[in-house]
């Protein structure tokens, strides 16, 4: 009753006071809402659909499951995927058929996210209401809110950072090429030992985006929508570069490895000189598992390399939305992020802002340099706008595909 009275006796000053207090009240209310979500999440099972091609990542997800079970009484089931698009199609088919969702949380970014967002297949916005989202480095790492030039709009919660990184055996290649022109020089001096995966392999497309970013006259065009005509103009230097590069490549650029993994294997076997990856810590990780020698070096090109963020999202038809949000929040916790960034565990760079962490939490991130880790990080170049990708892939296929 008192509150009612207060409302009735609202003065101008009182209103101002109330408005000023709203953030606090809002936060308090948000806290209550969140507590409700955590309470509802108890006993739920989260089917986490995530790419499972790495034993280290799978082990990390298993650890997350144990922690969630212990703290929140949430059962986490890792649905192992070979390709995330599988889950996208499954959600779409389920929604079309009006069936309850089989997936509660997806590991996602880029094209898969763009499609799901456009088709309204995602639950949310929820991401920016997660308590731990406040710790995310949204200023220093803008890709935590812009996924391949697509606004995340709170429909996905950042999980880890990725940036195009090259690696090689330092014993065979003491001075790595730090730019595309230097890579061309290297290819000329070691014909047949350099290559990149064939698009539409994701890594192959990224290599071409990198070459595009390094060769184009005006990089400001990248984040905006582009049409075919403008693309042809902008990509001219790119294809001049590729035309020069291809004859020097493995199999004279007439064949390409099918996947990044195959390329890594060819590097490990000694057929290639340079490998590439989207996880800056993968080379160090591969050294740790014995796939690559301890003389492995990793680098990013001098002017920066294509970088992005990977996320978790909740399908619109999930039957365990609350537990999925609790899971996403836990994945953002300093504890989980630090463990993920540990080279011995996974080595996936954090999305958090160290400055926003307490000293104790900061201390969790003990990033000792290991053999194969990047010594001189370069700035991340945001992914080009989604409209570039089909144009790049089509033009590449047209020129070199058959």
């Amino acid at each position: 009753m008192e509150t009612t009275g207060m409302t009735f006796t609202l003065t101008r000053r009182g209103l101002i006071q109330l408005l000023a207090a709203t953030p606090l009240a809002g936060r308090a209310r948000a806290g209550e809402v969140w507590d409700g979500i955590v309470a509802e999440a108890r006993g739920q099972t989260v089917y986490f659909n995530a790419w499972a091609g790495s034993p280290q990542i799978n082990a990390y997800i298993a650890w997350v499951g144990e922690a969630l079970q212990r703290r929140h009484d949430i059962r986490l089931e890792h649905v192992k995927l070979a390709d995330t698009a599988e889950a996208v199609r499954r959600v779409r088919d389920e929604v079309t058929a009006g069936r309850a969702g089989s997936a509660d949380l997806l590991w996602i970014n880029g094209e898969n996210f763009r499609v799901m967002k456009a088709e309204k297949l995602l639950f949310g916005p929820f991401a920016e209401d997660l308590p731990n989202f406040a710790l995310v480095d949204i200023a220093g790492k803008p890709t935590t809110r812009i996924d391949f030039a697509e606004a995340t709009a709170g429909l996905e919660s950042p999980w880890g950072m990725a940036q195009l990184t090259f690696f090689a055996d330092g014993a065979k290649l003491p001075t790595p090429p730090l730019s595309m022109p230097e890579l061309l020089e290297l290819a000329r001096s070691a014909p047949g030992r350099i290559t990149y995966p064939a698009p539409p392999d994701f890594h192959g497309t990224t290599f071409i985006k990198q070459a595009l970013a390094e060769t184009m006259a005006d990089r400001a065009l990248l984040p905006v929508q582009i049409d075919r005509q403008a693309f042809t103009e902008a990509a001219k230097p790119l294809f001049e570069f590729l035309d020069a590069l291809h004859p020097e490549l493995w199999r004279h650029g007439k064949q390409f490895p099918q996947t990044q993994a195959q390329m890594t294997q060819m590097l490990a076997d000694g057929e290639l000189l340079v490998g590439l990856t989207f996880n800056p810590n993968e080379p160090a990780n591969l050294v740790a598992t014995g796939t690559l020698p301890s003389s492995t070096i990793a680098w990013q090109n001098r002017g920066g390399t294509i970088g992005n963020t990977h996320f978790v999202a909740i399908p619109v038809n999930s039957t365990a939305r609350q537990a999925a949000q609790v899971t996403a929040n836990f994945l953002l916790s300093p504890e989980a992020q630090a463990r993920k960034a540990d080279l011995a565990i996974w080595g996936d760079p954090t999305v958090l802002d160290m400055a926003k962490l307490t000293p104790e939490d900061r201390a969790l991130f003990t990033s000792a340099a290991a053999p194969g880790s990047v010594t001189q990080p370069a700035p991340a170049i945001p992914e080009p706008h989604g409209s570039w990708v089909p144009l790049i892939e089509a033009a590449w296929l047209e020129r070199y595909g058959a």
Partner: protein, 542 residues
């Protein structure tokens, strides 16, 4: 059982297979039809720069592999005809059949690639030789690997057909007569055995061709990329998140299927026209052509050794995280991959359960059909079975998934069972139809005339005499079930995981030791099934 069978009307006997197999299958295929009326998909398809070259490559690798496999199997069989090596050949072929395609591709690839074992043995310089032994633009390494991998399948199909011919004793005696008429063993084989064998090899050859033209996993390891085979283009398109790209993939699937069907029909028709022209050669008179024993031994040994080498290399690769060129032995050994695999016990048990139940169910459905239906009706069933195997799996599986989703069967064990039953029943029907219908029903009449109850006669006489083909069909069904990935993954909807699903998803990162360990693990249960079948199915006397 036979008494029950005899009480069943034909309609009752056909009902189970219609409900459990024909209906879901036909409905799954119908789900593909809307793709035909998708003008956008066809426009996208036409503008794909790799379409025609990829299609030609698919047909060439599939066709070349089938012809090569046929030539090799004819050579081996003609050369080792009636030799004592034949039983061993059968066991070897069973082992080769059990080895998953992907496993063989990886092992074979590591043998021939520029950093592979052969290069290390004969070159061994500081940098690997610039060999174009895998991923060659012509798809030759893919073709060769496919041919080698399909050789066991054709051999087993041919040996089964020959055993059937010999079972009645006629083929053996016909050979005697032909020899007494002045024909050498090679000529006897070509003029008397082969012409009677080829009709039974027709459908196995079609399966080999279609499989070769639509295979994805082997093409990803050994095939070219510029262009890749059409199956790989389709695989990329169907795996895409964008529904429009999926649509193009579906259109490409329909195109590939129609081209394959047209090609098979044309070839069969052409053979019908051209084969009679070869007849004068059949009766051109005696020829002392000897059995190509030397060449057969060389071909058989080479194929066998390559298989064996692939398996041994897989075992070695599974414990070798790094094996840089030109080292002849891996620098370090670790069992990390096998430890990871050790945590996949539940998927293994589920796979074994599904394989056993679907193989048995398929056998039951097939026997029920054959016992209650006139032979003339087999045509439809076998046609549907062949279509199942001929249509790219990704497409049929997609239709099946949408059907099961509507019925609420996704993510359930019954759904998973039916998804496995589809291909298993197709194989079992195709394999069993010939031998089962060739059974001389007079044996049953004799048994009945001895006042033996129908069920006893059926078990003790018919099933006993047909033991070998029935067991082979069950073993192949078991192996087929153990190899299912695409339909299982879709229908399981993340609620269940089978061993192949674990294998494919965990290998998605290209971790070679893990892939190799899984490949070996996937080969073991079918191998055991084949061995059991050949042991139990051994004729009582030779």
């Amino acid at each position: 059982m036979a008494r029950t069978l005899r009480r069943l009307t034909p309609a009752q006997g056909a009902l189970p297979i219609l409900v459990l197999w024909v209906l879901p299958l036909a409905a799954s295929m119908l789900m593909l039809l809307p793709a035909i009326a998708e003008p956008d998909a066809w426009r996208q398809l036409q503008s794909h720069p790799q379409l025609w070259s990829a299609l030609v490559l698919s047909l060439a690798t599939g066709g070349g592999a089938s012809v090569l496999a046929l030539l090799m199997s004819v050579l081996v069989l003609a050369g080792l005809d009636r030799s004592r090596a034949l039983p061993q050949l059968q066991a070897l072929a069973a082992a080769g059949l059990a080895l998953p395609h992907l496993a063989f591709a990886i092992g074979f690839g590591f043998l021939i690639m520029p950093t592979g074992l052969i290069a290390r043995l004969i070159e061994g310089g500081a940098t690997p030789p610039p060999w174009v032994t895998v991923q060659d633009s012509w798809g030759l390494s893919l073709m060769l690997a496919l041919a080698l991998k399909e050789l066991p399948f054709l051999l087993i199909a041919a040996l089964a057909a020959l055993a059937r011919g010999d079972g009645t004793g006629h083929l053996t005696q016909e050979r005697r007569v032909a020899a007494s008429l002045g024909h050498g063993a090679g000529s006897v084989w070509l003029r008397v055995v082969l012409p009677q064998l080829l009709p039974s090899l027709r459908w196995p050859l079609v399966i080999v061709f279609v499989y070769g033209a639509t295979v994805v996993d082997m093409a990803l390891v050994l095939g070219p990329t510029q262009p890749p085979t059409l199956a790989v283009v389709i695989w990329h398109a169907l795996n895409h998140a964008d529904a429009a790209v999926n649509g193009m993939g579906l259109a490409m699937t329909l195109l590939l299927t129609s081209v394959l069907a047209a090609l098979v029909a044309t070839t069969l028709l052409l053979l019908q026209v051209t084969l009679p022209r070869l007849r004068h050669w059949l009766c051109a008179g005696p020829s002392l052509l000897a059995a190509p024993r030397g060449m057969a031994v060389v071909t058989g040994t080479m194929a066998g050794l390559l298989m064996l080498a692939a398996i041994l290399l897989l075992a070695l690769l599974s414990v070798t995280p790094r094996w840089p060129y030109p080292a002849l032995m891996p620098p370090a050994v670790t069992f990390a991959a096998w430890t990871t695999l050790g945590s996949s016990a539940a998927p293994l048990w589920l796979s074994l359960l599904l394989a056993a139940t679907t193989a048995l169910a398929a056998l039951g459905l097939a026997l029920l059909w054959f016992e209650t239906q006139p032979e003339g009706r087999d045509r439809w069933l076998i046609g549907l079975a062949l279509a199942t195997l001929a249509l790219p799996q990704l497409a049929v599986a997609g239709g099946q998934y949408r059907l099961f989703l509507g019925l609420g069967l996704t993510g359930t064990l019954p759904g998973l069972f039916l998804a496995h039953l589809t291909p298993v029943a197709a194989y079992v029907l195709i394999i069993l139809q010939g031998p089962y219908r060739a059974f001389d029903s007079r044996y049953m009449m004799v048994a009945r005339s001895l006042s033996v109850p129908a069920s006893t006669a059926w078990l003790r006489v018919k099933l006993s005499l047909l033991r070998a083909p029935v067991l082979t069909a069950a073993a192949i069904g078991f192996a087929v079930s153990m190899a299912q990935f695409v339909p299982a993954q879709l229908v399981a909807a993340g609620r269940y995981s089978t061993l192949p699903m674990e294998a494919v998803t965990l290998s998605a990162g290209g971790n070679r030791p893990l892939t190799a360990a899984f490949a070996l693990c996937l080969a073991a249960p079918p191998l055991a099934a084949f061995l059991a079948a050949s042991l139990l199915g051994r004729p009582r006397w030779r």
